[in-house]
């Protein structure tokens, strides 16, 4: 375990050294990703010019929704910084046969291919998210209690783990298919559903959609559970979903791990 931590820290240091070698580029990357975030924020602020809340009044008002948005940004920047650059390279490793080198190393392959590179500039979004969180929490009608503050990071990590599992599962499919550019687009399009409060999915199409993305592929849990936990006072009716989120995280991590091992078993190298 300690060895893995040391390897991870080495990866982190290497990535940072590489980023700092091209410092101007690093700053441009930070500014670029922050500007995209600012645009999103501007879009939602524009929407709140026209409406007091998204969904039923009193549920997701402006500042509650900003807490939600900050949570979305946080989870996405964690995924983007730690896993995205690595797993997007994974399907390329399969296509070119470079996965052979990863398999030969005396370390867990899933660990190695998940964390080799860290995109430090994406973490600037997480800093922005924390700032946005502090700003909007101070403006909520009912400030969160200590328990809420303690549970929030736990559920943010759960959400990140669920997204990570989904990526691992999709990458495993690329072992079987050879190449799956569309599957990565698919990842982007599917996770798009997690960007809004789950209450907006209702009606004859919305309800089945909500259930599918809560219980079958639990991406609605990713942001909704931590955001609701912090933005609204604790209510007894929220506990079942919060409990489910923990279960879902464990199931996703295990399930994707199994899929990954199965996929490696059917890997047949490529080229020479």
């Amino acid at each position: 375990m300690l060895a893995y931590l040391r390897v991870f820290l080495t990866f982190a240091r290497n990535s940072l050294v590489r980023d700092m070698t091209f410092r101007a580029n690093f700053i441009v990357d930070c500014v670029a990703s922050l500007t995209w975030v600012a645009m999103q924020l501007a879009f939602y602020l524009l929407i709140f010019e026209f409406t007091p809340s998204i969904g039923p009044v009193g549920d997701w008002g402006k500042y509650e929704f900003l807490v939600f948005l900050a949570t979305t940004l946080m989870v996405n920047s964690l995924v983007g910084a730690f896993f995205m650059p690595n797993l997007s390279e994974f399907s390329e490793m399969i296509r070119t046969g470079h996965l052979d080198f990863a398999l030969l190393k005396p370390i867990d392959t899933q660990f190695l291919i998940s964390l080799t590179k860290i995109e430090w500039s994406t973490l600037s979004n997480a800093i922005f998210a924390v700032a946005l969180l502090v700003f909007s929490l101070a403006r909520l009608n009912s400030p969160p209690s200590a328990v809420q503050y303690m549970l929030y990071p736990v559920y943010v990590l759960c959400g990140t783990a669920i997204f990570y599992s989904l990526m691992i599962a999709l990458s495993s499919i690329s072992v079987w298919l050879g190449r799956n550019q569309n599957l990565y687009d698919f990842w982007f399009y599917i996770t798009n559903f997690s960007r809004y409060p789950m209450e907006i999915y209702e009606g004859s199409i919305g309800t089945p959609l909500r259930r599918t993305f809560t219980f079958l592929i639990p991406i609605l849990v990713v942001v909704n559970v931590p955001a609701r936990l912090l933005a609204h006072p604790l209510q007894d009716q929220n506990w079942p979903l919060a409990g489910f989120a923990l279960l879902a995280t464990a199931a996703c991590l295990l399930g994707s791990r199994m899929m990954f091992i199965r996929a490696l078993a059917s890997y047949r190298s490529a080229s020479s």
Partner: protein, 271 residues
């Protein structure tokens, strides 16, 4: 004249065939692209449900959804994925020499290749588009009249030309900067927010809107859709089309001028 037409026809045919190789990937990708649209429908429904007035910036809920759906059509005409970077890469790697040595006009060649790209795209994307529009037919009030329809078609063709020449001009900046990605980023940021692909620019504050109207980017997504939905009519329609033509001509000349001046300082890197 005939020989020249034959050359252009051959180029177009080659480009079409090249594109058709990936048709399955294409059709699936197009259908996928509508997935985020589902969340947009739910988002706007929630927004409209929680307010007292039935319209936002003059758009009813149905019109808003129809608007967002139709922007996919105007974007299908105006978007030029990878054009600027491809042109800048030609300059950086020195591959542009190929076009200088051959009796082919670079801007014309790429225009044709994009026409081919688009033709194939419409051919393959027609089915997924038709399916989505059929499923969403409830959001539309009906077909617009012939005049509006003609203006809509014209604005789409102009949007294609504007998109092409605008991105070609950005690509030509590569003669001076070599790497255009940061410039392209600024442009994309602009067009993301004010071209109208996220929301109709009518909902922006009045002062901002008057200014945005004069820029080229709203003509890439917002304008054709506004024409279709009858939001721009009469004198405004003529004025809008005139501005669009103006921008097309401007960027047509700008890309030519940049190519001409750029070639003078071009130093032929690479092998």
């Amino acid at each position: 004249m005939y020989a020249r037409a034959l050359i252009w026809w051959t180029i177009l045919r080659i480009c079409v065939e090249e594109r058709l190789v990936y048709r399955g990937d294409f059709a699936l990708g197009t259908l996928m692209r509508f997935l985020p649209f589902i969340t947009q429908i739910f988002l706007w429904r929630a927004v409209f449900a929680s307010r007292a007035e039935p319209t936002i910036g003059g758009y009813t809920y149905n019109e808003m959804i129809a608007y967002l759906l139709l922007t996919n059509i105007s974007r299908a005409f105006s978007s030029m994925p990878g054009l600027s970077t491809a042109l800048a890469a030609l300059i950086r790697t020195g591959e542009i020499k190929k076009y200088l040595a051959q009796p082919i006009d670079l801007i014309g060649f790429y225009l044709l290749s994009r026409v081919a790209h688009k033709l194939v795209y419409y051919l393959v994307a027609a089915a997924p588009f038709a399916l989505v529009f059929y499923l969403c037919r409830g959001f539309f009030a009906g077909w617009p009249d012939a005049v509006t329809m003609t203006a809509f078609m014209a604005s789409l063709v102009l949007a294609f030309l504007l998109g092409y020449f605008l991105e070609a001009t950005i690509g030509m900046v590569g003669f001076w900067f070599l790497e255009v990605s940061s410039l392209l980023f600024v442009y994309q940021l602009f067009s993301f927010f004010i071209s109208g692909q996220m929301f109709p620019i009518d909902i922006l504050p009045q002062g901002v809107q008057g200014f945005v109207d004069l820029l080229p980017v709203p003509y890439l997504a917002y304008f054709p859709v506004a024409v279709f939905l009858g939001k721009v009519q009469g004198a405004d329609l003529v004025r809008g089309l005139a501005i669009e033509v103006g921008w097309v001509v401007f960027f047509m000349l700008a890309s030519r001028f940049a190519l001409h001046r750029g070639l003078k300082r071009y130093s032929a890197f690479g092998g």
